[in-house]
């Protein structure tokens, strides 16, 4: 009898505190429910995603939204979903469009990122940008009120595991795929994978000079091997492993074509002028295609 009463109390408390019966629609048009207790705030076109993950011991966020207005919308949704605190906020990368909103959640949230994220954020910090944002009239100014630069508490190297309540989060450092400190997050029980910005969805990625296509292909291979059911990229609509397949196919075609043209004696400039990759005609971010060719050229030339 004692056990039964305990179980009933537990269930009542669990449903009251952790999991009110809300559908994603109740949270707003940008929210999508991916699995029980896992909600993605899918950014407006081109903007970053942010995910709310409920556990019996509190909330884990993946990134903090593109702008403080997004962070405030996410905070509002969290309050609708649970009365529990946000315990952890995991950064898939340190760039401002994933991290400016830290101040909305931390304290109390503990921020976790790959090593180098703190330094990257401090270097990129522009007080003028934030001052302007706070002075903006309307929603943005209001949302940015109280801004503080909050850098990660925990910076791991290589790999890390976070255990909270019934959930386990495996963090993997992705080398040279997008920023100075990219993290993929894998929930093995739920088979949900956060790929960070290592891949985009029908979108050319911005390949900075230190980004390497072989490293990106290695990251894609590793992430595919996890056999995820749901794939949530840093930017773009969540989907399945097809997101990884599409990007793998694109980078392989790009590498093959650039290699072929380089072997024909064509210069980087000539390749940039002539090269087209079939199947990418409707992709966003075409201004980034030249830096994709540069990265392929570097890989082909072994430099």
């Amino acid at each position: 009898m004692k056990i039964r009463a305990g179980s009933v109390l537990f269930c009542v408390l669990y449903f009251l505190l952790v999991s009110p019966n809300l559908s994603a629609q109740d949270l707003g048009p940008l929210f999508k429910r991916m699995k029980d207790g896992i909600y993605v705030y899918a950014g407006k076109p081109g903007e970053s995603n942010c995910t709310i993950i409920l556990t019996q011991e509190g909330v884990v966020l993946i990134d903090s939204g593109n702008n403080p207005t997004d962070s405030q919308a996410v905070m509002k949704a969290v309050k609708q979903l649970t009365s529990q605190p946000i315990r952890f906020l995991i950064n898939t990368e340190p760039h401002a469009d994933h991290t400016t909103g830290h101040f909305v959640f931390s304290p109390p949230a503990i921020i976790i990122a790959a090593a180098g994220a703190g330094q990257s954020m401090r270097q990129a910090y522009n007080p003028e940008r934030m001052k302007k944002m706070m002075e903006e009239p309307g929603e943005m100014g209001a949302a940015a009120k109280g801004y503080r630069l909050i850098t990660p508490h925990v910076e791991y190297r290589d790999q890390m595991t976070l255990n909270l309540g019934e959930r386990t989060f495996q963090l993997y450092y992705l080398k040279n795929v997008h920023s100075e400190a990219d993290t993929a997050i894998w929930l093995p029980k739920e088979r949900v994978l956060f790929t960070a910005a290592s891949v985009g969805v029908k979108r050319f990625n911005n390949l900075r000079p230190f980004v390497s296509i072989p490293d990106t292909l290695a990251a894609i291979k590793m992430m595919k091997a996890l056999n995820p059911e749901i794939v949530i990229p840093g930017h773009g609509d969540p989907g399945t492993v097809k997101i990884l397949d599409d990007m793998e196919r694109y980078y392989n075609s790009l590498m093959a074509r650039v290699k072929q043209m380089a072997q024909q004696g064509k210069s980087l400039d000539e390749i940039k002028k002539e090269l087209r990759i079939p199947g990418t005609e409707d992709w966003e971010g075409k201004d980034r295609f030249p830096n994709n060719i540069e990265a392929a050229y570097r890989a082909v030339k072994g430099s």
Partner: protein, 304 residues
């Protein structure tokens, strides 16, 4: 005026954060090793616990040997600050460092090296009545165990990790094959304070389990000496300086030398165990561990 108000606020905050308490006021087990860094030194080679104050709360290194120690530590923290214990870093997963987790977590986030959680779970499986037995030790122990829950680490890092809590930075380094399945050295670079885990102990023979290797211990000691710490806090034993490493290095060098000579003379492991004497270390505690030390030296000498 605004500046004055801010100053007043800061002064009030500092009062709330770090109260002026001497280590003596905390109890006989406490030593202050640096500003805001205290060690609860375990009685008779029991495990140590580090209490580190920051402007954002407290960081603990281990949770005390027994729950009675954990309660004494929590009482001391309450005298030192009104801020919460934010993090608890395990230097190893063994019960004499981790049983007291429940006293601090929640709210503390427990951090350890990969494998710590599995190590703790396997001990729980092996002795499911461990806590019940512990309760029979004394009425104090029973009271201290009130509300016991098994709390494995929230965060398990691999190889290296950095923890930033406002003005302090903690570098966590995995020490391979030195004592347990998941040993962590904790280095405060600015303060030059090093928690060396149970890689080395003080005036005591260490227990060298079959997976522990003397070359790994020596490599860990070399790496830690290379950090050039001012204060060294071992997992067990009185805090000191790098001399703690030097003493261990000398001991293991002598042990390896003597075992090596006897192996070359054709002696078996059993003969070495019977005959080997280390009179230089007669004053060290835990002599029952000498055979496991000889076995580890024998493995190192034989390259197995």
């Amino acid at each position: 005026m605004k500046a004055k108000a801010s100053f007043m606020l800061m002064a009030i905050v500092s009062l709330a954060v770090v109260r002026s308490v001497d280590a003596q006021d905390l109890g006989p087990q406490f030593q202050k090793v640096k500003e805001g860094i205290y060690v609860y030194v375990g009685k008779e080679f029991n495990s140590n616990c580090g209490v580190i104050l920051t402007q954002e709360g407290v960081v603990l290194i281990d949770s005390g040997h027994n729950p009675t120690d954990s309660r004494a530590i929590l009482n001391a923290i309450k005298k030192l600050t009104s801020m919460p214990v934010r993090f608890l870093i395990d230097t190893e997963p063994h019960p004499d460092h981790t049983t007291g987790h429940f006293v601090f977590s929640p709210p503390a986030i427990v951090i350890a090296h990969e494998g710590a959680s599995e190590s703790m779970r396997s001990r729980e499986r092996e002795s499911p009545d461990r806590i019940q037995k512990m309760m029979t030790v004394s009425p104090e122990m029973r009271a201290a165990l009130e509300g016991y829950r098994f709390i494995p680490p929230h965060i398990e890092y691999r190889q290296k990790m950095t923890l930033n809590v406002r003005e302090r930075t903690f570098e966590l380094m995995y020490l391979k094959g030195v004592h347990s399945e998941a040993d962590t050295a904790v280095w405060l670079a600015k303060e030059r304070v090093l928690f060396s885990a149970s890689a080395v102990v003080v005036n005591q023979y260490n227990i060298l389990r079959p997976f522990v290797t003397i070359p790994d211990i020596l490599a860990a000691a070399k790496m830690m000496k290379g950090l050039n710490p001012e204060v060294v806090i071992p997992g067990h034993g009185i805090p000191g300086t790098v001399k703690i490493f030097e003493d261990s290095e000398q001991y293991y060098a002598l042990l390896l030398d003597r075992v090596g000579k006897m192996v070359r003379e054709g002696k078996s492991l059993d003969q070495i165990k019977n005959e080997l004497k280390m009179p230089e270390y007669d004053g060290w505690a835990s002599k029952e561990r000498i055979p496991s030390n000889i076995e580890a030296a024998y493995k190192a000498v034989k390259g197995s």
